[in-house]
Amino acid sequence: MKIRTIAELLNAKVLCGEDRLDNDVTSACGSDMMSDVLAYVKEQAVLLTGLVNPQVVRTAEMMDMRCIVFVRGKKPSKEVLDLADEAGIVVLSTEERMFTACGALYKNGLPGKEC
């Protein structure tokens, strides 16, 4: 699934990484607990979360993820966006809640695998 499609499905705003919207991703996970992301995520390229601190970006970077979706209308600070931009990670923000956002992506063919 293209990151652009994720943005459309979730009616999300693109906060950074506009030039990487055509990149493909094959799986996603949703979590507000970064330690669990570090423990259980294998190859997922998209992280859906309601946390907006810099450690979300660092966690995604450690896991080689390509896209972070902030759910529940959360808006990260400029510092967080700068970190994501530097790491080459696309950042989206959606008003949808976690369960609904994950469900919309799953229903449209984005699997979760082991997360």
């Binding site: 669990d36 570090l38 423990a39 979360t49 660092r58 966690t59 970077e61 450690m62 790491a87």
Partner: protein, 140 residues
Amino acid sequence: MADAIKFHFDVDGDNFTSAGEASVKVKKLLRQLNIDPNIIKRVSIAMYEGEINMVIHANGGSADILIYPEKIVIILEDTGPGIENIELAMQEGYSTAKDNIRSLGFGAGMGLPNMKRYTDKITIDSTVGKGTKITMEVNL
């Protein structure tokens, strides 16, 4: 044993925001050295968890990375409160972190178990009131 390529980092304990900076730098350095991406991921996750632990529990510390032809060694050292019960600390879900750390997405008791999960060898040397030294190895 051949000479190692060495990197040293100081981990700032006052600032949770900057926690993980050293791990990001190590990840970039290992990429430049053309290390296998899976190895890079394991090393950087283990070091990142260690770095977060040092910031949460020990007011910072130091991280040394030694790259040998056959393995990468990560040494994390702090002068924090030490770990009272290492066996308990190694159990998934056990944590002494405060609620404010949990609200940041950590403190779920996964730090040390994750460090063990992603490395081939981990040695924890800790004295209550003096500090903790963690040595991790990832085979190449």
